[in-house]
């Protein structure tokens, strides 16, 4: 029983961490957790094409 709970906890924690990473990458966050990376996600769609200028 303890083993089943342990496996469930591992799956839950690692799954949640992976889920967050995928979500953040889809949002365009370049560095997970970085408070400064949300300003510009690094892909030009977030800048409405302005990143390409100059």
């Amino acid at each position: 029983m303890t083993d089943i709970i342990a496996i469930a906890v591992i799956l839950l924690v690692v799954g949640a961490a992976l889920g967050y990473i995928i979500w953040a990458k889809k949002k365009g966050r370049r560095c997970i957790g970085c408070p400064d990376s949300k300003g510009c996600s690094g892909n030009c769609s977030s800048c409405q094409g302005n990143c390409k200028t100059k």
Partner: protein, 679 residues
Amino acid sequence: MRIALAGNPNSGKTTMYNVLTGRNEKVGNWAGVTVDKIESPLRKKYSVGSEGVIIVDLPGAYSMSPFTSEESITSDYVRNARPDVIVNIVDSTNLSRSLFFTTQLLEIGIPVVVALNKTDITDKRHNKINTKLLSERLGCPVVSTSADDGKGVDKLARVALNSAGGTQAAPFVGKKATDRASAEKADRERFAFVNKIVSAVETRETKASDLGIQDKIDDILTNKWLGIPIFAVVMFLVFQISQSWLGAWIAEGIVFENGFELYGLVTLIDMLGAWVAGLMEGANPLLTSLIVDGIIGGVGAVVGFLPLVMVMYFLIALLEDLGYMARVAVVLDPVFKRVGLSGRSVIPFVIGTGCAVPGVMACRTIRDERERRATAMLAPFMPCGAKLPVISLFAGAFFGESRWVGVSMYFVGILVILLGAFVVNSVTGYKARKSYFIMELPEYKAPSVSKALISMCQRGWSYIVKAGTVILVCNFAVHLMQSYGWNLRPVENAGDSILATAAFPFAYLFAPVVGVVAWQFAAATITGFIAKENVVGTLAVCFVGLENLINLDELAMLEGTGAEIAGVMAISRVAALAFLVLNLFTPPCFAAIGAMNAEIKSKKWLFGGIALQLGMGYSLGFMVYFFGTLFTGAGFGAAWMPILGWTVVLVFTLTILLLSLKSKRQAAEKADAKATATV
């Protein structure tokens, strides 16, 4: 409805944006903190019944004719996205310069509301600005504000919302410039118009030419001889307070004289690990190890260092808000100018001490393309927050917790940047020319503790998020790979594991740096490219026996186990220092490389930058080991190790020399072709 905040750099746009939206975007007492457009809904308390109002914060710009990429973001947005209202944040302490941009905004035809910001400072100086007359002369509403204390913000929001949908007449229309001379003439005419307005509306008690206390402080802090020593002392104190005093007390706890112990964060994480291990007593040992060492140990590895990093961020934020960091740029300008950079490059390097990603992103404030690219590829050489656990572990285990190791790594970082800049110049054929560094020095002001706390908490939270996601997944994967063989069965000997066999080929490559063929060091270095904190976590997981000597939660050796850790790792102090140098000066992580790609905008420069970082880190690490071993009289291990090491160093050096010669030849050919064309 979209309301855009536009204005000169360091006029308080992001502070105003934070007040209007309730966000906590990074602010700083220097020009060029915001380098990209950000937006968020207007707070309900300011929206006065209006729905769907979006506030857009734009990077600072001096003119609608952009010089830098972040200025072009502002001019492009205002011209092409056509917001409903432009709130022009004007620095009331520097009216003349600010209104130049205002008159250009008024020409676009979008309703403009001028927010006369920083009025708290003008009031303190007893300077008066006639807002009514200014409004009449500009032909748009003018509202006095102080974003720092929220004064006038509600009125500003109300006026801006009422102005939406209207039209805007321009009090001055500049002539269209066809060449440089006509552009300069048009600018002079605009300045004359602005100065006429300023002389009519402003009454100054203190003339700009009068020397005040701020100028006297600047004379000392930016002094040619005193500036750098003062900077060194300031940075030493920052690291001493964060790494040895306050940060260390919070991390390790305090035992009072009466025996009462205030637990530190590390002890609490330890207790959590022990409690979970107790709960799992009857479970499969592999599962227990995965949860206790892999998950709790992995997350705790970074969280244990949190107090040290947070205290450092707090102190840096105070220095930024005080206005000191802008002076550092002036102090270091003559040094960086010698290698083709400038004081403007200092800002990315300072930001890079926190995290390389925003450090690289801050390069976009640099106008010169070559200088911007060079700075972006050199900024990751500054040891970032993620490298602190690596420094602390090796300093603690091999050098008796000597603080000189940590502090010196930052100064070595500056030297490596200078050396790297020299290499970049040689390869690109850049010749130093006389140039001027003009930077607006912000006012000194009492640093805001609340702002510093917010900045610290944001960064602290980001640290926790990173620990709970990337670090957790990496440590879990390393743990699994170290526990299983290729037949997917648990292994008795870690040397037979997937991780060991996969990392073993790389162990030969790193052997000249550490003096031994050990897959553990190779695995740690490779996982470090995902996130640098992984270096310590992987070492602790991979070295059999080390888990009993290193506290996985705090990623530091247990008291008095330094020699044992050195014994388990089986490397000398010189090798430990070399391994540290290798990890500090090779690329910090993939995220930083991604940021370099975005800022450099050239594959040739990007791959050149990565090669430079790899070559520099490896060469420095090897040379530390080689010469350190030579001076200490220790053996080199196998003879092939120094041969391999020198081969890599020679290939790296020869590549640089060949590229330098190529660029010199190309420059000579260009000069010849130009001379022939002139004849």
